[in-house]
Every structure is written in structure tokens, then in C-alpha cells.
């Protein structure tokens, strides 16, 4: 009996081939592809950070013992070992990370050093290697971006679908809530909330998520309102499926595309927000590396340490551009009117 009902209520099968269509269209957009490529690079850097920058080597063999991945595991006997100044003797071997500097290792005598062979992107005002901090900062930016948007998506999807599906009073209430939240200048609201909380990356993620859900809610509501009256939805309702099932198994997959676009832009915006917060001093607590924090430092040395001004700023800019390009590309690819 149930199986039968499922069959009847099956949504149109355009899902799979539709995404392929979108991808084909997306591929034609060179800029969007570039953005996607950059996005993947950033992902990789964020994930592989311990293997890209740090003082602990990837593998070391010394005094007869071999250690695997000291950069990931903590070996108690190696805890305070100074790898930076150690050189392998006969029969010993060390495989360092490409950027052999830890992001928190300060060296006051080497403050504000311009880019050199030792420090490819120079050092900051505490002698910390900028490249290493930027690599680890990618982790912060990526995680804040995705987690914050994840939270926003969850809230937005739930509220949007409820509003669109049920209409009536829930819709009215949710619309008012959306309007209320949208009335606040986003960054101002975020700043006010963050200022009152202890600095931690989790607080930042949650606060951004709590403020950024309105776009996806509105979009999804629109989609649900539209889809509610479509054939398959009526059929699903007629066959007695639960509301929740209809909403999330049948309507949602069809209505999710504009939300995805908005989410991509949302990630860009979240990364920008995190940088702005760190720039103003409300971001991640020290010594956590963040691009915004580097930029904030650079204010004091604007005419002396151009590398502190340029590289973090470029990183933020390129990252945001990448996500925006992908979002644009997605939007164009999904738009049937633009299909060639």
C-alpha cells in the first residue's frame, strides 16, 4: 500500500538530468569555472594546512626512531623539540612541510621583515611568518563561511518551507520575523551581538548564521508558494503523505536551486564579515590566525610593510570573488531564460 503511494507521489524525474544540464551550462562560463577552481584550491589549503605549514615535520627519523605525522599527532617526547633549528645527522631524515614555520611562532628580532627566501610573504609585527598564518587563516575563513551559512540554511529552510507550505498565519508570522531581522543593518547587528559575547570562533559562526538566514527563507518561501500548486505536490497531498515528507522529500529538492545560489553568496559574505570583525578586533581570539587580523595589524604599518597590507587583503578579495563568481555562474546556469 505505501509503496504504491510513493510511486504516485514521485516528483518529476527531471532532477538528475537537470543538474547535469546546469553543470553543462556552468562549464561554459569560464569565469565561473575559474572561481570554482579557486574555491577548490582554498578547500584543499584549508584541509591540508598541517601538511602545508608548520614546524613539526610530516615525517622524521632520528636517533633510530621513526615518527609518522608529528604534525598531526603529539608525541610527548617531541613536544618541546625545536625542529626549526635541528638538522638531520647521518642516517637521519626529516620531511618538512613546504612552509616550515608555525603560524604562532614569534621571533621578535625578525619583526616586519619583507618577503625573502626564509619568509616568502614576510613576517608580521611579532616576527610570525605571514604565509603560514595565511594558510592557517584559510581554515578559519572556510570554516566560518560554511558553518555560518550552514546554520543560516537550516534556519532559513525550515522557516521558509513552513511559511510557503502552510501559508496563512504561520506565513504571516514568519514574514514579520523575516522583515524584523532584515530591517537591521546586518553588520551592525552582528557587531552588537559579537561585542557582547566572549571572542571565539564558534560564537562568530553562530551569530552570523543567526542573522543571515533571511535570504534563503524568503527564496524558499517563494519557491514553495509556487510549487505548492504544482501537480505532483497535489498528488502527494492527495495520497496522504505527511506534511513533513512532502515538504522535505518532494518540494524541497525542487525548490532548492535559488537557495543554493544565495548560499554561495552567503559564504562569500560570511567570510567578508569574519574578516571585518577580526579587522575591528572583534574576531577570533589571539593567537588564532585570521586574514582580517593580519589586515588589522597592517594598519599601523601601512607605508612600511606593504606585504601585510597586500597579501591578506588579496586573499580576502580573491576568496570572496571566487565564491561570488561561482554563485553568479550557478545563477546564470540555472536560469532557463539564459540558456543558449
Amino acid at each position: 500500500m505505501t509503496k504504491h503511494a510513493n510511486n504516485i507521489a514521485q516528483p518529476p524525474r527531471r532532477r538528475q538530468s537537470w543538474w547535469a544540464l546546469v553543470w553543462r551550462q556552468f562549464r561554459r562560463n569560464r569565469l565561473a569555472l575559474a572561481g570554482l577552481g579557486l574555491m577548490l584550491v582554498l578547500f584543499f589549503v584549508a584541509l591540508a594546512a598541517p601538511f602545508l605549514a608548520g614546524e613539526r615535520p610530516i615525517y622524521v627519523r632520528m636517533e633510530g626512531r621513526a615518527y609518522w605525522f608529528p604534525n598531526l599527532k603529539t608525541y610527548p617526547e617531541l613536544r618541546y623539540f625545536d625542529f626549526a633549528n635541528w638538522h638531520p645527522a647521518q642516517g637521519e631524515y626529516i620531511l618538512r612541510t613546504p612552509v616550515p614555520h608555525a603560524p604562532e611562532r614569534s621571533n621578535l628580532r625578525d619583526r616586519l621583515a619583507p618577503p625573502s627566501r626564509m619568509h616568502l610573504l614576510g613576517t608580521d609585527d611579532r616576527g610570525r611568518d605571514v604565509l603560514s598564518r595565511m594558510i592557517w587563516g584559510t581554515r578559519i575563513s572556510m570554516s566560518v563561511g560554511f558553518v555560518a551559512v550552514g546554520i543560516a540554511l537550516v534556519i532559513g529552510i525550515v522557516l521558509g518551507s513552513v511559511a510557503g507550505f502552510y501559508g496563512g498565519l504561520p506565513d504571516l508570522i514568519i514574514q514579520r520575523i523575516v522583515e524584523v531581522v532584515m530591517c537591521f543593518p546586518t553588520f551592525v547587528l552582528i557587531l552588537s551581538l559579537i561585542a557582547f559575547l566572549p571572542p571565539s570562533i564558534y560564537n562568530i559562526m553562530v551569530v552570523i548564521g543567526l542573522v543571515a538566514w533571511t535570504d534563503s527563507a524568503r527564496l524558499l518561501r517563494g519557491e514553495f508558494l509556487r510549487l505548492r500548486e504544482s501537480d505532483f505536490a497535489i498528488a502527494a497531498r492527495a495520497s496522504g503523505l505527511t506534511d513533513r515528507r512532502i515538504m522535505f522529500r518532494h518540494l524541497l529538492p525542487n525548490g532548492v536551486s535559488p537557495v543554493l545560489v544565495s548560499a554561495t553568496f552567503g559564504v562569500a559574505s560570511a567570510i567578508l564579515t569574519e574578516s571585518a570583525l577580526s579587522f575591528l578586533g572583534f574576531g577570533v581570539p589571539p593567537p588564532t590566525p585570521s586574514w582580517g587580523e593580519l589586515l588589522s595589524q597592517s594598519q599601523r604599518y601601512v607605508d612600511r610593510a606593504w606585504w601585510l597590507v597586500m597579501f591578506p587583503g588579496l586573499a580576502i578579495f580573491l576568496t570572496v570573488t571566487a565564491f561570488n563568481l561561482v554563485g553568479e555562474g550557478l545563477r546564470d546556469a540555472m536560469d532557463p531564460r539564459l540558456r543558449q
Partner: protein
């Protein structure tokens, strides 16, 4: 309240313009009278040459100064803002004044004064020709009015009121005599009673004092008259042409409100600012350049202020003095001074602000991580579970250092310290807070460790009571909870000691004890680094710093002119 105030200020180096007290100068004009310092040796030693023969002072011109922050209001009694102080000092007058030249008390609104032999009664005889800027004479009634306001619990003046706790009454036998009676002797009473700003009763007596409209347009009897306040932008003072005493030479003092340091530097370089206190970075990198020095004279001097990190003794980590000593040994103060602060300071010793009062036998502790680790082991903090963090009785050695946002130097040395501590097995977390929350945490004793600075604009005759007496541990400035019976006794007795030399002797012993206990990790005395437009003369540096109201500008170099008006 200037002289005796021990003001706690966050360790915001070089950004406090309230250090500007003076004037002094050096020659200038076509050829520099002094050789330009070479860039390499630039900066470390204080730069305050004696003013050479500069000619006769003339009146005229204005001085444009900078305030990094806009004071909320300008009521000298209710204000606790350091920047407001700069302005109220010029607009209001006090009964007497501790000379910035030789620290002797000089008559101001009071021509003479007597102190009873038991030091409980202070009588001031006021001059009869002093008037407020609106022409109304200054009388003893105004003094009593101000005193009453200070003592009034409804006045928003908790911070000042504490100094008057032992002052019992203020009598006015006649219009020009004021008599204060105290119930306990205290060597600072003369300063407390003689140096609060006198406010006009006929103005501030009407209306609500705390929110008085004249808090935005203060009226006093001082050398300058408050002319206008362009909110968010600047404040203008004009010379009081009816001043009873010696008028300053500069016709106007303008204070521009520029929060951002970079922006302020730009404005200075455009010569739309005449004076600026610069950061060590700017001093070393910009002020050392010849083109900068062609436009500005540089002055640097040690200020009566020292910075430190304080350890809350109530916390289990910091209860043992061996641990506190270890914390000091783990901070590489010489290196930080040399690199982050560019050597523009010296390691602080002792608890006082003037060398004459400090116990010079005590030397700063060295940077010695090995000895520190030993002390920590001795005190029972070892890494028993081998997780990299020391622990004792199951409690890991983890703590939170509160810092104030806005100071890059503080941010810098905090992370450096954090690293060093990690290597010694101590986990320090850094928590930046805004000044408001920071002070609240200190006041509620809700902190593990925090950097701070004490300063005394009066320079000499400091009283360690507020900071070190055990009675102040819960409600006063003794944030760390320091409590030592011998120190308590010394402080109490010293308060009654009117012979300065004897007092200093007693304080020497006090400093020995404190040195042994290490409730603070002392850091530095900083230099104030000031750039002044070259046209100003008499840029003399006193112990308190520069005194702008003593400056003057030669006629041919004057830049700003009083629009229209009289011959001046």
C-alpha cells in the same frame, strides 16, 4: 583633582595626550639650532634640549592639538575622563597649584594659607580680584559650593569623593576665607583641598548638576574661556582676556577630535595639527626622517607612569609567590622593550613615579626561564599527566589574561608571552576586552591576570594606600588582593608622616616587601613622544612633561589670527 590621583589606565602606550602639560622650546626658523639626530641612533634617549635664547615672548597665534577621544562632558567634578582634564585644567582655577617647575605650592585663587599644627585644619585666604569669565567675582561661597557638590552622594563623583572621606566640614567665615576641617591627618590633604577646580555657584547652582547644560560649555575662572564645542569634531578655547593673573601667550587652544592614529598623522603632516603624541612606530619610522623634522620639533621624556601585569592572588594559580616570581622570569622584558617598543622606555623598578622616591637598591628580575621552571616545580606545579600543561592537585595551570583592545603593543607582547609560557607548560588565553568591560572585570575582581598602568600626574608624594592597603582589596584599587600586615602598618604610619624624607625611608621598606612578593610583574616606564610644529617657542620639558600654555610664537611665524577685534 590632579596631583594625588592615582589613575589606572590600560597599557595603551603613547596614545594618551593628557600627558601634554607644558611648553618649552627650542629655537627654529631658518636654521635648526640643534643638530638633527642621526636616524640610526635615533630615538632611545629622551630628547629635550634646553631652550636656547629665543627672544622675548609675544602674544598671538593658536595651538591646534589632538584628542584621541571625545570627552563625554566637561564638568570637572563629575568627569573621570583624562582628556576632559586637559581642558578643565585650562578653564577652571584651583586655590593653590603645585608648581611644575619645583613642586612647591604656589598661590592661585588663594593668596595665602595656614595649616594648623595638628594638620587638621586648613585655612585659605582668597584673592579679591579674581573673577569668573563672565565677570562675577570668585568668592569662598563658590569654593564651598564645589566642596558640597563633591561630598553630595547624589553627585556623580564617586571617584573624587573618596579623597574627601576624612574631610569633615567646610566653613566660610567671610567671603574670602575658607576653612576645611578634617578628622584625621593625612600628608596629602593640602593637595586634595587646595587643588580641586572651583566652579561658579551662580551658574552650576541652578539646574541639575550631573546633567547641567554647562557641562558642554564650562565656565570657570581659568586662563582660558571655553568658546565652542563642535560635537564630534573639535573644541575651542580662547584666552581669558580678563584673567587676574599672567595671561598665556597663545590666543586660542583648539582640540581636534581624531580617533584614528593614521588619520591623525596625516592631519599632522598636512600641518593642520600643531602637536601630536606619536606611537613608538611613528617615532622611529617617520619622525626620524629629515623632512618630518623640517616641520616639527621633537620632544621625548619619561612620564610618571609605569606599566605591569597584575596577578590576582585569590586565584589558586597565583597564590604562591614563587609562581608569581616565575611569571616575571618568563617574560622577556628587555627583548620586548627593545623590539616592540623600540627601546623607548626603561624597565620599571619600584612603585613610585619619581626616582627620588624609589628604592634604587632593587633591580629588575632577569629573563630566566630555567629558574622559572625550577620555581614552578618547587611550588608543586608539575606536568603529572604529561599533557604539556603543568598541574597541581588536579587543576591545570591555565589562566586568562585580559587585555584592552586598541593597543597593538599590548597585543604583540601578549602573544609573545603566551608562546613562552606554553614552552614552560603554562596555558595562557588572551581575552581582549573594551575598556568598559575591562574595568568592570577588575572592579569585580573577576580576572586571573591583567596588564595595567599606574600614573601620577603630580609626580611626587604618591600614597600607596589605594593600591596596596589590604582594606582596598575588595573595593579600592588593590585589585590583586595584596595583603601584608607589615605593609599595612607602614602605609598607615606614612600617611601621618609629614616629613618627606622620613616617609621615603618607610616606603623603601615597603618596596622591599613588594619586590619579594611580586604581586605585579613590573614592566616599563614609557617615554612620551611628542611632535610639535616648529613655530612654537619655549618647548621646555618639565618633570610632568610639556606645558603648552607657556608656549609662544614669534610674530613673523604666527599662523592663525584672531578674527577682527582689538589690536591683538
Amino acid at each position: 583633582m590632579k596631583t594625588r590621583t592615582l589613575v589606572g589606565i590600560g597599557l595603551i602606550v603613547g596614545l594618551s595626550s593628557w600627558l601634554l602639560w607644558g611648553c618649552g622650546e627650542s629655537g627654529s626658523a631658518p636654521k635648526p639650532a640643534e643638530p638633527l639626530p642621526v636616524a640610526s641612533q635615533f630615538g632611545q634617549e629622551p630628547v629635550n634640549p634646553e631652550p636656547v635664547d629665543e627672544g622675548t615672548p609675544v602674544d598671538g597665534d593658536w595651538c591646534i592639538m589632538r584628542l584621541p577621544d571625545e570627552p563625554p562632558h566637561l564638568n570637572p567634578v563629575t568627569s573621570s575622563d583624562a582628556y576632559a582634564r586637559e581642558i578643565t585644567d585650562l578653564v577652571f582655577d584651583t586655590l593653590i597649584y603645585r608648581s611644575h617647575v619645583n613642586f612647591e605650592f604656589e598661590p592661585r585663587l588663594a593668596e595665602s594659607w595656614e595649616i594648623s599644627p595638628d594638620h587638621l585644619t586648613y585655612t585659605f585666604h582668597m584673592r579679591k580680584d579674581a573673577t569668573f569669565s563672565d565677570g562675577v567675582p570668585v568668592t569662598a561661597q563658590d569654593v564651598k559650593f564645589t566642596y558640597d557638590k563633591i561630598k553630595d552622594p547624589m553627585t556623580d563623583a564617586a571617584h573624587i569623593r573618596n579623597y574627601f572621606i576624612d574631610v569633615v566640614s567646610c566653613e566660610v567665615p567671610d567671603d574670602y576665607t575658607v576653612k576645611f576641617t578634617c578628622d584625621k591627618p593625612y600628608f596629602q590633604h593640602l593637595s586634595v583641598l587646595g587643588e580641586f577646580e572651583i566652579m561658579p555657584r551662580h551658574i552650576y547652582g541652578k539646574g541639575e548638576f550631573n546633567k547641567h547644560p554647562n557641562n558642554r560649555m564650562p565656565i570657570g575662572s581659568g586662563r582660558y574661556v571655553f568658546e565652542r564645542w563642535d560635537t564630534g569634531s573639535q573644541m575651542t578655547l580662547a584666552r581669558n582676556e580678563n584673567y587676574w593673573g599672567e595671561k598665556p601667550h597663545l590666543k586660542k587652544m583648539v582640540y581636534k577630535i581624531i580617533t584614528d592614529n593614521n588619520a591623525a598623522l596625516q592631519v599632522l603632516e598636512r600641518q593642520e595639527l600643531d602637536v601630536m603624541v606619536v606611537t613608538p612606530e611613528i617615532w622611529i619610522n617617520r619622525a626620524s626622517k629629515p623632512d618630518f623634522q623640517a616641520k616639527f620639533n621633537l620632544r621625548s621624556y619619561y612620564t610618571p607612569r609605569f606599566g605591569f601585569i597584575m596577578w590576582n592572588e585569590r586565584r589558586p594559580q597565583f597564590a604562591d609567590k614563587r609562581v608569581r616570581k616565575a611569571m616575571t622570569l618568563l617574560l622577556d622584558r628587555p627583548l620586548i622593550l627593545e623590539t616592540i617598543f623600540h627601546g623607548l622606555g626603561r624597565e620599571a623598578i619600584g612603585m613610585f613615579f619619581d626616582e627620588s622616591e624609589n628604592n634604587m637598591a632593587l633591580k629588575p628580575l632577569p629573563f630566566d626561564p630555567e629558574q622559572a621552571k625550577q620555581l614552578l616545580d618547587e611550588a608543586g606545579w608539575t606536568d603529572s599527566d604529561n599533557d604539556g600543561i603543568r598541574d597541581k592537585d588536579g587543576v591545570p595551570f591555565r589562566f586568562e589574561l585580559l587585555t584592552v583592545t586598541g593597543s597593538s603593543e599590548m597585543d604583540q607582547f601578549a602573544t609573545v608571552y603566551q608562546e613562552e609560557l606554553k614552552r614552560a607548560g603554562i596555558d595562557m588565553q588572551i581575552r581582549p576586552l573594551e575598556w568598559a568591560t575591562f574595568s568592570e572585570r577588575l572592579d569585580s575582581r573577576n580576572f586571573d591576570a591583567a596588564p595595567l598602568a599606574w600614573s601620577n600626574p603630580g609626580v611626587i608624594d604618591a600614597d600607596p594606600y589605594q593600591i596596596w592597603h589590604s582594606s582596598q582589596a575588595e573595593k579600592g584599587s588593590n585589585f590583586v588582593g595584596f595583603s601584608n600586615p607589615e605593609v599595612d602598618k607602614i602605609i598607615e604610619q606614612a600617611r601621618l608622616e609629614f616629613d618627606r624624607a622620613k616617609r621615603i625611608q618607610m616606603y623603601n621598606r615597603f618596596q622591599e616587601i613588594v619586590y619579594d612578593e611580586q604581586p605585579y610583574t613590573l614592566m616599563y616606564n614609557f617615554q612620551a613622544l611628542v611632535a610639535v610644529d616648529k613655530r612654537f617657542r619655549n618647548l621646555r620639558v618639565y618633570k610632568r612633561g610639556l606645558v603648552p600654555r607657556e608656549w609662544w610664537v614669534p610674530l613673523e611665524l604666527q599662523k592663525y589670527h584672531w578674527p577682527g577685534k582689538s589690536s591683538e
